[in-house]
Amino acid sequence: MNKENEILKSLEEDQKKITTLQELNELKVKYLGKKGLITELNAEIKNVAVEEKKAFGQMVNALKEKFLNFYESKKESLEEEILNKKLEQEAIDISLPSKKVKRGSLHPMTRITEEFEDLFVSMGYTVYEGPEIESDENCFQKLNLPKGHPARDAQDTFYLKDEYENYLLRTQTSTAQVRAMEDHTEKGPLRIVCPGKVYRRDEDATHSHQFMQIEGLVIDENISMADLKGTLELFCKKILGEKTKVRFRPSFFPFTEPSVEVDVSCFKCQGKGCALCKGTGWIEVLGAGMVHPHVLEMSGYDSKKYQGFAFGTGIDRFAMFKYGIPDIRTIYGNDIRFIEQFDRKDSE
């Protein structure tokens, strides 16, 4: 039993000295190698009396197990130490700039258009787009603006070369309504919005010779001004905020009868009066009305059976309102420092 104690004592001392994996492996050789202390002790079993062999074997196995327990746990802790050291050395400056592709952006006009489209599509409207070059007939005559009509003055028109009162750049997206009604062979209910570019000879801080409008049209058997108001109330609340109020004022458009101008409560001052609303608390944003029976008839609709409402507004104006852009020329200026600002999801 002397040998056992010797080994135990030696192991106890040796354990304390181990600091590296290599030392640990050398220790394994010292105890469990071919000539290892425990291996050699085990070999002595042949000299042990038969009745003591079992106890001797158990003693050696216990020694072996003790060593291996130490070995495994020490190995694990040494390896972890090495890994930790390596990780420490691999530390980087996480504050350095990232590697990435530039972040793109959609133009505010696209963003507003999509917002409008999504809202109306969710209510069953179809987005209908027409061409930008139009006939005088579609742009004016079929909208109840015959040649020589004084209301044509309000929309100073770009005619194409040698096409006076014949072909033009559309002055209003209402032309798309005419096309939609003409295309609709059943001449039945219709629900569309028409966004698009329009052109007028006009240019200053609030007018651009090219701008964007969106037009809405609903035709059915029982459509009224009340439906128009409800629809526009919903629209303005969704786009400009839930607190927005809508006001109707009678007006005149040749293609609607009755016609109204639609004001919204100023979203900047909540109707108290500020520079934006010129102190009135209201901002004019839309023109609307009930589709004129002549307009319905000219596009093949039975105005005795069907009536409908139409509305139109400038997308540019909404973009200016929504993002606080003071000058319409900024929108078409395409300064990259302007465009890049619209590169994320908006708050809702």
Binding site: H107, M225, E233, P258, Y332, N334, I339
Partner: protein, 790 residues
């Protein structure tokens, strides 16, 4: 249209408690917008004063020190006007008075205390065009009787209030005091007073020695009366003030009366000097090139589109726009022929657009009520008799092809309710019509409404519904959502997907003008097309509709470069316009321009051809065109592109776009661009998205590199590799390209990684090597390539 409160009050009683702002708002609520509503003269704290003493200022050669009695007290005021003197009754602005030039305060002028200011008319803010020299050269001198301490504004007749309306083009009837009175009457439920038109006629008859002949359909009504013995002088003050308040400069009593009646009735009149005119008027279309010197002394050249008033031979007036100089009423005029006529509104609009917009033409353009033509000529006689001592000649020449009948329109209560979406009773509707001075007969459910001829804008039931809505209050309509069938809405998803994809790829969307300079329209394309130009462009740099969007993107690049912004990655989707056999066409196009940094990295990598090519491939693959397009080097590239760094984009044999570097002649910097015809591209259906089995057996990868001549395209190698590799070769990828010392000057090395796989079994090394070696042999033989030893 400027509305004077005093003027309209001749025809309707307005509650004095009603402020001018309130009237303007009430009018807005029935559809008549206004620009401004305010007192004519907005000065405060003015009184009539009497100059008791007037002495020279001790320290000035032109100032006077005055003691002025203003009723309650006597104030010392320093005054610089040359006409100030003792005993004068003057306008005094008391300390605290607000004048257009600022607030008047107690002050000291060169050591002398001054407690206010003695004013000229000009200093009250009266428009300069109405002023005589004395009104701005010196202080105003009242009559001796002017009561000290009273309101000088009222004494001067400037105590009026004015609303400046911006009327809609359908309401020509509101271009008259009477029309305004009817509108206000409907709002405030007041009756409009009758107009005074009585006068005496002498025993003569105009028809005896004067004739009118109308030789054109564009004149539907022509009335003429004659007055004799007029005395030309200054108009009575009230006429002058009302003209001024309405924006018209007074001239003399006769001319002023014609304008006054036009303002009252909306019917423009013309007065001819009867002696200068001769014995007839012939109305006809002008001859091409015919000349007329108009009242303003300018010689005008007429065309066959203009309606001419002639004396049978020469043109003496441009109908509806302006009279001629030769028959003008002058100081010595005695006898006058009065014309009250209706000319075609479209013709007048054209002529006035060409020659001159006037108060008269504005009214003719909007259309006139024939009943008013009669009323106006009678009213004119009444006023000429009263204020110009005229004797009215008996009879009237009448040429009248106008329909004088009032319109009768039937409408049901149901229809009104159905269109407006409101609950309203028959009684309420009837009252609205009565307030508007329409006649109404009720027959069971029907209302038969008779509309006065002045309301030219009303002709169908819907117009009456609008009247009901206007007076009821459009804003009182309660909004509700329409009850409609549930249907699916839709929009152009693909275009939106493209925009979002490109934004996700780091590009910024731009929005530029379609109109560009003509000399730029054929750039950035090799297409032959006829461009679309404008008739009367705003400017030469916006006279043509663009065909390619790249001109616009180039301009945007330059704009930003000038502002030191050099990292530009932009795109735009818009129309390209052209003509094809006289049909106007527009194609949807996508253009991209990139320059500077695209990868934001510490080591910047500048945009090159391969980055923009990558954008194009990303987009095409995303749209479902993978393996169906290629980039083709070509000698047929737009000359604005670098010939060696550009390509045509071919999808299934058809060119859909162009890509490459912008030619250094156009932009010195390294700028890359591409343009795709989206209409053409999207005609191709995307490949269907379909599940493919995930490989069960391992693949084997092999690498090799070839040295080839520089002019050999990688694409050519890949083509041979793929062809020879057959089915087992599932992928070929270039992983390195080398040019430099290790290869010849005109050579390059391209390294490929090949992937072999069979979906049904595990491949053996031997069979892969057999194919691999066959590929090497083919490439070497066909392209005189050398396998590069590692």
């Amino acid at each position: 249209m400027k509305l004077s409160r005093k003027f309209v009050s001749d025809y309707i009683d307005l509650d004095p408690e009603l402020s001018i702002e309130q009237i303007a708002l009430d009018m807005t609520n029935v559809g008549n917008e206004f620009d401004s509503a305010s007192p004519w003269v907005s000065c405060t704290n003015l009184v009539v004063g009497e100059v008791l003493e007037c002495e020279n200022h001790p320290d000035s050669d032109h100032l006077h020190v005055c003691q002025v009695d203003v009723g309650k007290e006597v104030l010392q005021i320093v005054c610089g006007a040359p006409n100030v003197r003792k005993g004068l009754k003057v306008i005094v602005a008391l300390p605290g008075a607000k004048l257009p030039l600022g607030e008047i305060k107690k002050t000291t002028i060169r050591g002398v205390e001054s407690n206010g200011m003695i004013c000229s008319i000009a200093e009250l803010g009266i428009d300069h065009k109405y002023l005589e020299e004395k009104d701005y050269k010196g202080i105003h001198e009242f009559d001796k009787e002017a009561p000290v301490g009273s309101d000088p504004i009222a004494l001067l007749g400037y105590d009026d209030e004015i609303i400046d309306f911006e009327l809609t083009s359908n309401r020509g009837d509101l271009l008259s005091i009477l029309g305004m009175a009817y509108e206000l009457g409907a709002i405030y439920k007041k009756k409009v007073k009758e107009m005074e038109v009585s006068f005496k006629e002498n025993k003569e008859k105009i028809e005896r020695d004067f004739h009118v002949e109308v030789k054109t359909d564009y004149c539907s009504l022509f009335l003429a009366k004659k007055v004799v013995g007029v005395k030309i002088k200054e108009s009575p003050d009230f006429i002058k003030k009302r003209l001024m308040a309405s924006g018209i400069r007074p001239i003399n009593n006769v001319v002023d009366i014609s304008n006054y009646v036009m303002l009252e009735t909306g019917q423009p009149l013309h007065y001819y000097d009867a002696d200068r005119l001769g014995d007839q008027i012939v109305v006809r279309m002008a001859k091409e090139g015919e000349k007329l010197t108009t009242l303003d002394g300018i010689e005008r050249t007429l065309s066959t589109e203009d309606i001419a008033i002639t004396n049978g031979e020469d043109v003496i007036g441009l109908a509806g726009v302006m009279g001629g100089l030769s028959t003008e009423v002058e100081m010595d005029t005695k006898d006058i022929i009065i014309e009250s006529a209706i000319f075609d509104n479209v013709k007048i609009r054209k002529t006035s657009k060409k020659i001159l917009r006037s108060e008269a033409s504005n009214r003719f353009e909007k259309g006139l009520d024939p009943k008013r033509s009669y009323l106006a000529i009678l009213r004119s006689c009444h006023l000429l008799e009263k204020y110009a001592d005229a004797t009215i000649v008996g009879g009237m020449i009448e040429y009248n092809h106008e329909n004088m009948d009032e319109k009768v329109i039937e409408i049901t209560l149901d229809k009104i309710k159905k269109v407006l979406g409101i609950e309203i009773s028959m009684e309420e509707v009837k009252n609205i019509f009565l307030d508007l001075d329409f006649k109404v007969d009720v027959e069971k459910e029907k209302m038969i409404v008779t509309v006065p001829t002045r309301r030219l804008d009303i002709s169908i039931a819907e117009d009456l519904i609008e009247e009901v809505g206007r007076i009821y209050g459009m804003d009182k309509i309660e909004g509700k959502l329409p009850i409609l069938d549930v249907i699916t809405g839709s929009y152009n998803k693909t275009r939106r997907n493209i925009k979002h994809k490109l934004a996700d790829l780091g590009l910024n969307e731009t929005f530029s003008y379609s109109l560009i300079p003509n000399q730029e329209v054929h750039r950035f394309t090799t297409d032959h097309f006829k461009e679309v130009m404008l008739d009367y462009p705003m400017s030469e740099d916006k006279n043509t509709l663009r065909y390619s969007l790249l001109y616009s993107l180039k301009e945007i690049y330059l704009y930003n470069k000038a502002r030191n912004q050099s990292n530009i990655s932009i795109f735009e989707i818009g129309k390209g316009f052209y003509q094809e056999e006289d049909i106007y066409k527009e194609d949807l196009k996508l253009a991209i321009l990139m320059s500077g940094d695209y990868y934001l990295d510490i080591q910047n990598q500048k945009v090159d051809f391969y980055i923009i090519k990558g954008i194009c491939e990303e987009l095409f693959n995303y749209l479902g065109y993978e393996n169906r397009y290629r980039f083709e080097a070509s000698s047929n590239l737009p000359k604005e592109f670098h010939p060696g760094q550009s390509a045509n984009i071919i999808l299934q044999g058809k060119q859909v776009g162009v890509i490459g570097k912008i030619h250094p002649n156009i932009l010195k910097e390294d700028v890359y661009a591409m343009e795709i015809n989206l209409d053409q591209l999207l005609q191709n259906r995307p490949t269907r998205m379909e599940y493919k089995d995930i490989p069960k057996y391992p693949s084997i990868e092999k690498d090799f590199a070839f040295v080839v001549k520089k002019n050999i395209m990688a694409e050519e190698l890949i083509e041979i590799i793929k062809k020879t590799g057959g089915k087992l070769l599932t992928n070929v990828r270039i992983f390195d390209v080398y040019e430099g010392e290790k290869v010849g000057v005109d050579e390059k090395s391209i390294a490929f990684k090949l992937t072999f796989m069979d979906p049904t079994r595990t491949l053996t090394e031997d069979e892969v090597m057999t194919v691999f070696n066959k590929i090497i042999e083919k490439v070497e033989n066909n392209l005189s390539a050398k396998l590069r030893d590692e």
